[in-house]
Symmetry: C2
Subunit: 117 residues, 2 copies
Amino acid sequence: MSLDPLSNTLFALADPTRRAILARLARGEATVNELAAPFEMSLPAVSKHLKVLERAKLISRSRNAQWRPCRLEPAPLKTLDGWLGDYRLLWEHRLDRLEDYLATLQIERDTKEERND
Amino acid sequence: MSLDPLSNTLFALADPTRRAILARLARGEATVNELAAPFEMSLPAVSKHLKVLERAKLISRSRNAQWRPCRLEPAPLKTLDGWLGDYRLLWEHRLDRLEDYLATLQIERDTKEERND
DNA sequence: CGGTTAATTAACTTGATGGCTAAATATAGG
DNA sequence: CCTATATTTAGCCATCAAGTTAATTAACCG
């Protein structure tokens, strides 16, 4: 079981079924049966996936009679986006901030023959 | 073993040790021993983490004498950023692009078994 | 050659994941 | 009350994840 929220988010997203469920929920609330319909797996299996998503706070659930509509909660995705932002300049060519980084990398590469630690 | 590249990326990132390794590599190449130093776990454990990162193509490795310097490869992070971008307007209030957004999500839902590794 | 350092592989343990079927719970409605 | 529908829980199983220690490979150096 993951400890920190970011690990929890990433783990929950690291499954195509769960990402497909999120994609469906991005269009609006849906019940468990509606969410399970596109998949070949059993309903309890989908229920488990939903529990993983709920644990990661990527979805929330309300109650309406015997239905438990699920709703997408974007907060963890926003957090993930923030984490990714720290690395974004690695692939964006933003020279203002990238130059120092690349220079450091180049130095590392050039001094590889002198490495002795 | 994950099937599609995005699941592979997310799974590799869903571990604090592996994310810490990436954070270290963002500052430049490093050997396995250098990467293992901050952690209390054994060297083989770190080696396994590196293999996971390598399988996800988040790092690449070269050879220099008995050292195997690791290097961060940002491509999968960029892909993840692209995937996340489909959801970005859920927390940014940009409903003007909602149609494109929904279309993209529909594509994501349909591509259940992508494997273009 | 022999020894040291770097890193991986092998073998094993522990616990979690992801799937199933069958049973249980909750609610609506006749 | 009884039944149908929606969903979860309970067992069960196979596989995998993440760590360990011990052994192995690979390369340098005196």
